[in-house]
């Protein structure tokens, strides 16, 4: 009986070791914001194997949704899946730009995003608030 428990414990332990601890979302996807002339530059950084869905991004500045026509996107990659169809993802750290008026005053920026890892899990859609 003791041996059985030991084996179980060992298996559990090895199993735990074999999986690299998944990063917390704030660690997995890092955002930084910069005011530039009439635009807000948003940079996102992520580790290898992590990706963000383009269509899940939503930007709100002072309570107003930024239309996609006012967003300058970096190049995204195709991601084809039999269940989800063709979607666009960002697999590398990059930057995007939001065109907004009145950059002199202080702004509140909310970023909605959703990402996953290639080896097997997703983060629930997340909301990050930043002041400019």
């Amino acid at each position: 009986m003791g041996v059985k428990y030991m084996t179980l414990f060992l298996l559990f332990f090895i199993n735990a070791l074999a999986q690299a601890a998944p990063l917390e979302i704030e660690e997995a996807f890092k955002f930084s914001v910069q005011d530039e002339k009439n635009v807000i530059k948003i940079s996102f950084a992520m580790n290898k194997g992590y990706y963000l869905y383009k269509e899940k991004f939503k930007f709100i500045v002072d309570g107003e949704i930024i239309e996609s026509t006012s967003i300058s996107w970096p190049i995204s990659e195709n991601f084809d899946d039999p269940n989800f169809g063709l979607v666009q993802v960002f697999k590398k750290s990059d930057s995007l730009y939001l065109a907004i008026d009145n950059l002199e005053k202080k702004h509140m920026l909310t970023i909605y995003f959703q990402g996953c890892t290639q080896d097997g899990f997703c983060y629930i859609p997340f909301k990050k608030e930043m002041s400019l």
Partner: protein, 158 residues
């Protein structure tokens, strides 16, 4: 004319029928529709697979759980799949992937449970096995692989 004896047997079988009906409906109602229902099954192992319809790895993993459920009709095991999606999309996936175990929408209890189990940013899928003594005997964030199913089976058979 119906004899007294026949009348009694009629009443007897009628009552027996009602009893059987209630028993069968009770058996059907043992499905789990929220976390509180788990407490009614404290004599069993419960495998909880948190997932969401928008989660691709969850989609990839669920057919294996469905298979595991079908191939291992373990009397003492209940599998449940709380979903972090909306009702329409969740039901669609249940149909598409032919999920036979209980699936329901995750609520505040499930959120609290995940937070308490070290998954405060809700990475999905997250699978947890709870034994009849309410101990967590297995927990994994990410797709379950063959070795995980083997481990779960081993825990169930110990």
């Amino acid at each position: 004319m119906i004899s007294l004896k026949n009348k009694f047997s009629f009443i007897f079988f009628f009552l027996l029928g009602i009893l059987i009906f209630f028993y069968l409906s009770y058996e059907k109602n043992t499905s789990i529709q929220n976390f509180t229902d788990i407490k009614n099954h404290d004599d069993k192992f419960i495998l909880i697979n948190f997932w969401a319809p928008w989660c691709k790895p969850c989609f990839d993993e669920i057919p294996d759980i469905v298979n595991f459920h079908e191939l291992n009709e373990i009397k003492d095991l209940i599998i449940i799949g709380p979903s972090f999606g909306d009702k329409v999309n969740t039901n669609e996936v249940v149909k598409k992937l032919n999920i036979k175990y209980d699936v329901f929408l995750a609520g505040s209890d499930e959120v609290e449970f995940m937070e308490a189990n070290g998954n405060a940013d809700f990475k999905l899928p997250h699978t947890i096995l709870i034994d009849p003594e309410n101990n967590q005997t297995f927990s994994k964030i990410g797709i379950l692989k063959d070795k995980d199913f083997k481990l779960i089976k081993k825990i169930l058979n110990k």
